[in-house]
């Protein structure tokens, strides 16, 4: 879509667009270019010079057991976060949608966790499950279950998943609720007259009508769990125990800043760049489609 009526001149628009182009160039394109460039080199241990290795860093990464494990960890983590945040949100939205009065009050209460930063959410959940003072871990201990996410990789994963999914329930709830409110009442009522019970209506009419929203939320939540959960992981497990919660973004950080391995960290950035690119294409393809609905 284009405007038919436009203004003339090139200096003014150039000045108007300059701040954004400048900031993007300095803080986006140059660093992104650097990441791609550095991914082709291995710096010497003193950081004085670096040696060109072509795709060597990538070959090394793809052969690296820890890196491949990190891919699997990220996949497991993002699938679990997406499921654990979408299913409860859909459930709550369906219930809220059935209420004529009061749904606004519940909505206000339910959007709170969205405002809580992932890192703060991490601290809250860490506090509940802390091996020494945590309330939940204490009660679990009384029930005979010895909770220790510091040593047990599976429990660590469970904890970071729940802490990451928690705030997202609010977000998904808002989208599902809005989508449910948009389902035409007449369709539902027609089905009701035909004698379809609530769950039958839900599976055969409501859920298919929600599919654009569901697909959109799937993509958005996967992107979220890839990139925005760093704070949760850093506060709760710092990637441990034995790297069992080291997702890809965390590894870029720990190899680049803690391990000072710039070549490998940059190569990982480039791989992530490709992953984001693919996810973005999927997202846009889908949005194109939705526009034609």
């Amino acid at each position: 879509m284009e405007k038919r009526v436009t203004f003339r001149g090139w200096l003014l628009p150039a000045l108007l667009i300059a701040p954004q182009v400048l900031i993007s160039a300095v803080f986006f394109f140059y660093p992104a270019g650097q990441a791609i460039w550095q991914s082709l080199f291995i710096p010497d241990p003193f950081g004085l010079s670096s040696q060109f290795v072509g795709l060597g860093n990538f070959e090394f990464l793809l052969g690296d057991k820890f890196y491949r494990t990190s891919f699997v960890t990220t996949a497991v983590f993002s699938i679990l976060v997406t499921l654990c945040s979408m299913i409860p949100a859909l459930f709550l939205a369906v219930i809220a949608d059935r209420l004529i009065k009061g749904s606004g009050v519940y909505r206000t209460l339910l959007i709170w966790p969205y405002a809580v930063a992932p890192a703060v959410a991490g601290v809250l959940w860490l506090f509940m499950f802390n091996t020494r003072v945590g309330v939940v871990s204490w009660y679990l201990g009384n029930l005979g279950y010895d909770w220790n996410h510091v040593l047990n990789g599976g429990e660590a994963m469970g904890l970071v998943v729940v802490a990451s999914a928690w705030g997202r329930i609010s977000y998904n709830f808002l989208f599902f609720f809005a989508a449910l409110q948009a389902v035409p009442r007449s369709v539902i009522e027609a089905a009701a007259i035909d004698g379809a019970r609530f769950w039958k209506r839900f599976w055969t009419i409501v859920l298919p009508l929600l599919s654009p929203t569901t697909f959109f939320l799937l993509v958005v939540n996967v992107v979220y769990s890839f990139f925005e959960t760093f704070g949760v992981i850093h506060t709760i497990t710092a990637g441990g125990p034995q790297q069992s919660t080291t997702i890809l973004v965390y590894k870029v950080f720990s190899d680049g800043f803690v391990g000072q391995d710039l070549g490998s960290s940059s190569a990982q950035s480039v791989i992530l760049l490709i992953v984001v690119g693919l996810l973005t294409i999927i997202q846009f393809k889908f949005i194109e489609k939705r526009v034609h609905y």
Binding site: P13, L16, P31, I100, E189, S269
Partner: protein, 285 residues
């Protein structure tokens, strides 16, 4: 007839009662972590380290919150709150200004290179700061912007979500308005200030809410570039309050800080709920 159908679709009677019970249960479960943090911020350390801690608030609210706000652990929490506020408002305002200007240029002018710039900005949508941290850090360090507000703000403004939102909105402004402005001999900037900006008010407000929360909740970037505790933001500073090694964390103060860290974004989200939901839906479209 309509009434009967209504009864079948929306729950009444015992079903309605059950629906409320489910809803309240859901809210309680979702709220529990926040409640527990609040309780912990009002009791004493010995009450927490001898589990199980109480589930109802204690009487040390003022002690814990003033300890957090005015002495903290590494730095008073009040300092971190100010830093977070500057960062969040800086990101929101900065991004809105540069996006309004560049979207106006892209929509209302035909100038050479327009498409190239458009795609340049479009590309920045794709790569979150988490992915390019090492080279971005080097750029910021090179400018001597470590431990500064500009270092906290500028790299996070370099993304195009807001530009796209404004572009979409400007395209819906009727052409007649620009035509009339041109016929009246108004300059483009006059048209911008008198017509475009006032018409964008709601969009600006909705975007402000989203960007404020985005800025406030940043973690990785402040963690990297603020080595000086005086520049820590509250969201990243909480983790720094945990002792390294085997010492016991000062839980009441840490939990008071966590509550303080969520108050501003919660006020923004709950207080401006309508704008927030609108901004959320718009910016994800």
């Amino acid at each position: 007839m309509a009434n009967e159908v209504h009864g079948m679709v929306e729950k009444r009677g015992s079903g309605l009662w059950l629906t409320h019970v489910f809803m309240i249960l859901g809210v309680l479960v979702i709220f529990f972590p926040i409640w527990l943090a609040f309780v912990a911020s009002t009791v004493s350390q010995p009450e927490i380290v001898r589990p199980p801690m109480p589930l109802l608030p204690g009487d040390r609210f003022w002690e814990n919150y003033s300890a957090a706000l005015f002495s903290g652990v590494n730095v008073p929490v009040s300092t971190m709150l100010v830093n977070s506020l500057v960062m969040a408002i800086g990101i929101a305002v900065g991004k809105i200004i540069i996006s309004l200007l560049s979207a106006f240029a892209i929509v209302y002018f035909r100038f050479p290179g327009r498409n190239i710039f458009f795609w340049m900005i479009f590309l920045t949508l794709m790569l979150p700061v988490e992915v390019r941290i090492v080279p971005t850090y080097e750029v910021v360090a090179g400018f001597g912007m470590l431990n500064s507000y500009s270092g906290l703000i500028f790299p996070l403004i370099a993304s195009a979500t807001a530009t796209f939102l404004f572009r979409q909105f400007f395209l819906t402004i009727p052409d007649e308005l620009a035509e009339a402005a041109r016929v009246d001999g108004a300059s483009p900037m006059r048209f911008f200030w008198d017509i475009v900006v006032p018409m964008s008010r709601t969009n600006v407000a909705a975007l402000f809410v989203i960007l404020f929360i985005y800025g406030w909740n940043q973690y990785l970037w402040p963690l990297l570039i603020t080595t000086d505790p005086e520049m820590n933001t509250i969201v990243m500073g909480i983790k720094q309050m945990f002792p390294s090694g085997d010492d016991v964390a000062d839980w009441p103060v840490i939990m008071a800080t966590s509550i303080l860290a969520m108050i501003p974004p919660v006020i923004v989200v709950v207080g401006m709920q309508r704008l927030f939901i609108r901004g959320l839906v718009d910016s994800e479209k």
